[in-house]
Subunit: 253 residues, 8 copies
């Protein structure tokens, strides 16, 4: 029996919740380390292995798949976190889970435990206003995983005094996330000013020869400064995840 | 007077070493934060600002420039570290500094302080044998900056049991450096197995459609696993630097 | 007279079906090996030459062209198979052929003979849930041509234990189809684990620097493992076709 | 003790060959499935797992590493096969193993068992004369692994009658290897003429906008014909390996 | 006074048609060789210089600009020819010029003189059905400029017998236009079979790694056959123009 | 208090305009050189530093952000200039500032001071009619910053006499802006004819292998003529800005 | 017996020349249309089919292969033409055929019949001096095939008056070959000035972002002028071949 | 008679210098505006038209061509300037013109008039030491054409204090040349700090994903700062030329 079949059995009353739980726990978790849902295999072993519970990349997921995976993880962990969600997906989920929260800027969809404790300190910076969507994905991801975040937005290199006026916040962080589109020079400038790792996130913001973010990606990969860790174009989630890993190490977790 | 002029004055006996020191210290370090050499400005403020003393990228440097910069940093710090050096550059330096050491695999040229203390633990891994040159650049960079390094070589995904047999070493490190050419899949596999950051170094090893390392770079940037920090193709130095930053944080430095 | 003219003659009653059949059979099949339809030349010789009857690539076909080609092949073979169909195309065909079946996941449109016999065994695997659309195109193509298929979905390298738990199924197949987007590392991992050919299908799933599937394509083309046969991005049909060729050889057909 | 240490012990007489064998067999093969050589891990489990013994990619290997790996595999299997070797590497190996054979066209270096049995039939074809180097790498790889090979050279599409005059040989093969540079159209033409898989090998032969083989690679990946399995640019070895896998299946191995 | 101002004067009755004609002829044609319209300069000297009257590239033209340019050329030449027109543009023009004809396949919009004489012979061929839109742009362009055209559609290399059955038509033409997407191998095959120039038109038909027609373009540019003249992706107009130039030369015009 | 909070205080009557002005002037301008708005930092120091007041890149700005930034700059400078605005953005701004002007060709949104004085002379030229949108962005930007502009449109190289007939205007300008898509040859031709700098603006006008303007960009960057300054694809604003800098120098400003 | 075997038989005296001729003629020419040489298949049917005898692309040919193919074609046709030859290849051929001529500029190696008749007129033009090597390949190819050629060198667009002073020669030709590197604008300018086809040859001359000729290729493919036929980068031979085809048509051949 | 023939006549004494001068002046300069040398057409009209005498791009020029062109321009102008010269070319020229000067850093070869007057002020800056070769080409070009130059080297963004300490020099210049490889961020930072145009020169300095300077080129083209004029990769000459044009305008020339 797949997870879906078990859940349908419970829904129809032919299986009690308690029996289902036993079935699910025994088969999947202990033996295989994942839940078989046919179209997906929820990696229940992930938190133990990597320190991070599985999250959902919502883009392109079929509605019923999304709801089931959302529910499955929520029931497992008591909270759930999805990225790149649409307003339509949010509304569909909302019907079943009214406590769901959606942020239209970062496109994050989540139910989060209350009174979470935040540790350390990470600075999330952007070159321009249009980079904020990606920056918020990074910041909220880090926060979901327990990281304290400082936001420093619109400090691009065309007006360097804006960056210098916030340098104290940036230099005190355990690591810095630098989010920039166009030519992406922010990461190089940061790298020369701080002693901690700079996680560089190229964005697709810009036009013409930016080629969907390739320009910023190449800038960051070729940086003359050191201590620059590059992630994929627009990959705020990856940056928030990596920042959390580094922040945890710094805080002895 | 530029640094070069001052040094020539000392060489010719028209200026004492002590006077020169005063001149250099006062003018450059305290006021400007760098030494003006005309063709170069040695960033003497760097260690204070970033925690790392300046190193030398030897490739393409004119012989006399290289020697002068090498000497300048050595006198400043009591040790000096150069990457991408040629055998000819080594032999030229050797005449003036017989204590210089050159590693033909990593092309590192250095004079290193004795009895350095190493902290923490970083695992440097390669997919194949041909990736070792880049891996050694990473490993020796990290060691120069005081990081303890474990080497795990030739554990590419075409024979996964080799990787699994060394998983204990990899999972205990504060961070992992994954060096791979061809399709560069090693980083993704690592990312799914460890809780600490994976620094991915694409190499230009391979042929055909690897396009000088672009293939491995794209693989690593697009990794489905999280916690992957990518640096430039063949950039072992950058990886060793970033690994040191993370290792220091983990060790409370 | 072209095929279209003949069909119109039959429609208007000026030509009997039997007469038309004679005309069509004699002219096209025996002499030329194709049916001339003006805008298309149906390759009636294909099955004899390659072992595969002609199928329809529906994308971008004008409505009347699609219906006529669909009808022509159906009448020739008693079954017909179209890929990349839209819901609108399906509804138009449905009016004339109510037995038509459409799968919204794979976008396959077909009328298939009943009680088909399946031979051998091919494993169709995906890295993630979003790759299933392409995988189903591969699986259903192979099944249409008489291949028995095992589906192994969501076994990407970020959680390798999921793949290992299904390794028995994968290793027993005559060949494996590995469907993966993002960095496409699944194919390399497979190649190191099985003795049979791995057909690698890069998908356009992903974002940022995946460049519409180019990243996964380069990964698979540069694989450090051997026995990897690469097809075009999102080309599930090509993979199912190639898998059928190999499966037939293995079964002595 | 690493393999190297064990061998040095034997060389110096402090360890008998028999004892060494026991050590090596027990530790490496049974427990780990590979031989640890420090700079390399010989995958001794590979033949059992994939049906193919490990071969050596000679390009860029340090001399002493190459000799040791060559010796190690030779002693394990009684034969050994290296690709992309230089004349210098050959001469170095020749000193220790006078039975070594080197082919300057394909750059293959090998010691092969006598009276090998060949099964099935694979056709290796080229578009032009300049593609023969890659074709020979494919052909000799397939022969090394026990495949009977027919060579059909210089049958490019600018003079199609040359191809048609050899079509009988091509159509009878279990699979066809099509090696072509420039625009690489040979693979598409083949795909429309045979019922068995076509393994397409783009070569870097050509000039101008061929971009080192990218042109032929894109042609083959986008082929309008089906049953085309593409490997990397100039990857004759990969094609011979894949052809062997398919040929074995066809012959019931 | 610009053309627009002159026309408005005529419209309002302040200027007679005859006077306007004098103004326009004298100023523009004889002195400058073009009509100044502010947003455009109609090249009235073009036919004398190149043998071809100016045509209109409709894509992206503002409605009023398009109508005015259309009218201007029509009045000059008694006929007018526009490419890449939309249905909306057609309907707007139709209001003013009810004799306008629009072909939804090629997106050509025109008013053509009756009883045009056609000379010579050009064969326009396509690899597949989806290439017909581009082929019709080529064919109708050539016809507009007085070239006799034979259409040979759907003769791609996956079923070569279709091409061979029409070889007589192709070999008798003064030149051949080969329109193909996907891998674009048709041009190379043609080049080896005919003695006259082959104008190769890559199309954006295909998917995956065809990169909007780049794959076919590279194939055609790198063709191993000679006598291949390549034009831009989807540039049917350019092919029809070039074919007309060659056809005229062959017919002594 | 952020700027937004201050403005809200004024709006609600809890703060007088005069007090607000003091607050804003003191805190932001004198100390930091920018206004903190949370999602943006208005660079109030820019005009003093660069000679150009800050302008607004409207594309992708959230409605409320755009209105607030628009208002802020208007109040600072008495005029305001936005590029890449949509009609929707215009209508929203219009509600609050009825004196706003929108040009649907260049997509410029502005309130401009009356009776501005224009100095010097810049020629803005286009190759075709479709390049006018970008050219107007350049021309109106230059005019906003006080530059006198001559427009010379539709003088592409396919009819060189059109360009030569306007050469006097072009040669008298302090600098020339050459706007061209497709192959972008206009810039090279200009460079050989004038003694003043040519600012080359590649546009995305064209199709097929123009790759969104990359073709024209490469042409201009590789120009065989000298004195060519290239800006980003479709970057009319950047060209107008640069032309103004050069024009001011020529006029002694 | 292959051609090689037959020739060896003749060499050793076991076969008379006359007998050999019969063998070769009968077997190869009449039945197959090519000569089988093992490593090559000389296309003896080509002249009949395409109007052009086979020529030799010398680059990368093994010495003995080159000599044999050279001899074979020379004996067949009484003349022979090779492109991209090296000085070493020339010297080797010279030993056997002292009448061989080598041009170090174009790298053409040939033995040509005396008192050849030239027809028509083709203009071969270059943008700069560095493009002459490619232009000479084009010019001498056309001459070898009987075309009269006018050379017009160094008429690039940075000094347009040089081109205009030779316009009479260019406009009288049956077709124009425009050879240009860097930005390749020459072809577009030509296209607007002549009524005959322009064959555009991009060259790899230039540096920086010319990417080995890609810049010039894109310029020519995207030309705003019509009647532009593009061949591969540096492909002088292809241009001379195409020019000959067009010239023959114009001269009624 | 060509220039070469005339010069040979003078050399052999059959023509006096005075007669030759008349011939050359009358024919070439006044009527055609260039000197016909067969392989080159010296643009004698250029200085009048553009304000800059013709210079020589030495790379790839045949020895005798280079000497003749060098001599021709020297005799015309009394000075001559060549870029990208090799040491071998220098030595050859030196034999004939012992006053020739060669700079091995910038590869400039020249004979320059004494006591040249320099006007205005241009700042030439580099990010690193390895960019100096390109910077010197720019600086010496500008100086040759009469511009006063300040050199500011090694002020890259990884140590921003070095740049700030020289800001006075940079801000006082009529324009700034920013030379940078790797990620090329220097230009963006400059753009935000100065009121005059910044000429950005990407260099090929760097490794890995810098793709021969493409990375720096894209950075500079996509700069978020304004007033950035980009020239080709490593094109110091173009930058020096453009800087001179702007400097002359600023100085009223």
């Amino acid at each position: 029996m797949t997870l879906q079949q078990i859940l349908e059995e419970v829904e129809s009353g032919r299986l009690s919740a308690a029996e289902a739980e036993v079935l699910l726990k025994k088969e999947s978790h202990e033996t295989k380390g994942y839940d078989e849902m046919g179209y997906a295999k929820i990696d229940t072993d992930r938190e133990k292995r990597t320190g991070f519970a599985e999250v959902i990349y919502c883009a392109g997921k079929a509605p019923e798949h999304l709801v089931n995976i959302f529910a499955r993880i929520y029931h497992e962990n008591g909270e759930v976190f999805g990225t790149r969600a649409t307003k339509e997906q949010y509304e569909m989920i909302l019907e079943r889970f009214p406590e769901t929260v959606f942020d239209p800027v970062s496109h994050i969809l989540k139910i989060e435990k209350l009174e979470k404790e935040y540790i350390g300190r990470v600075a999330v910076c952007t070159a321009g206003t249009a980079d904020i969507a990606v920056a918020e994905e990074a910041a909220q991801t880090a926060e979901y995983f327990g990281t304290r975040v400082d936001r420093v937005y619109d400090v691009g290199v065309s007006g360097m005094h804006r960056l210098f006026s916030r340098l104290d916040v940036i230099q005190e962080a355990n690591c810095v996330v630098a989010v920039a589109g166009m030519e992406g020079a922010l990461a190089s400038v940061m790298g020369g000013l701080v002693r901690r790792p700079v996680i560089a996130v190229p964005t697709s913001v810009g036009y013409g020869a930016n080629f969907g973010g390739l320009s910023a990606l190449l800038t960051m990969i070729n940086s003359c400064a050191n201590g620059i860790a590059v992630v994929n174009i627009d990959n705020g989630f990856g940056a928030g995840y990596l920042a959390t890993q580094i922040n945890r190490l710094a805080e002895g977790k």
